[in-house]
Symmetry: C2
Subunit: 91 residues, 2 copies
DNA sequence: TAGATATTTAGATAATAGTCTAAATATCTA
DNA sequence: TAGATATTTAGACTATTATCTAAATATCTA
């Protein structure tokens, strides 16, 4: 996991909203685009960053590309935060 | 807690390193500046963002300003991540 | 295979962010 | 109170990023 990619990906509100939208289940790029008031091109850009950070997975189903959450990276982020804020004397 | 401020603050590697540096205990701006190869002005800028996000606390001791970790916000961030990656059916 | 649909990629633009130097503010001490 | 020390603030510059339109790619279906 590349920390920098993950934290940069999480730094944008639209991308966090995309993750939230995917909690209901996996969705195609087109389905997601209906929920956001940005162009499909911009959404695709955000999805590419989320994918690059491994926060989401992608699989093709015919003409569509289906995106879904990758929860395991969230666990890694939490571990990093836990470490980041753990006072050295504590451990 | 303002999510946007916290995630933006965590998106920069230097700022995450500042948090790491503070795990050993609270430090003054000057002490911190010895550990980073940027100007005091730039460091001050980063500290202001961390403070604004409430990831660190600050108190004056004479001429010095002492910075320390604010672990409670880390816990909040973890809760948000937990929520962000929790599939709706699960809850 | 042509045309339609789904999505991404390319290139441009405007806003945001990180860094620097120089100047300002706050506190201490002789 | 004057000068020294510690830190921040102001203003400028460059790099990065979010967004858009237009064009390209991939897949399906008649």
């Amino acid at each position: 996991m590349k920390q920098q990619l993950v934290f940069k990906a999480l730094a944008d509100g639209t991308r966090r909203n995309i993750l939230r939208a995917l909690r209901a289940g996996s969705k195609s790029a087109g389905e997601l685009s209906e929920e956001f008031s940005i162009t499909k091109a911009s959404l695709s850009h955000h999805l590419a960053l989320l994918l690059n950070a491994e926060l989401v997975r992608r699989e093709r189903r015919g003409q569509q590309l289906i995106y879904s959450l990758n929860s395991s990276v969230a666990e890694e982020v939490m571990a990093i935060l836990f470490d980041l804020f753990s006072h050295k004397e504590d451990s």
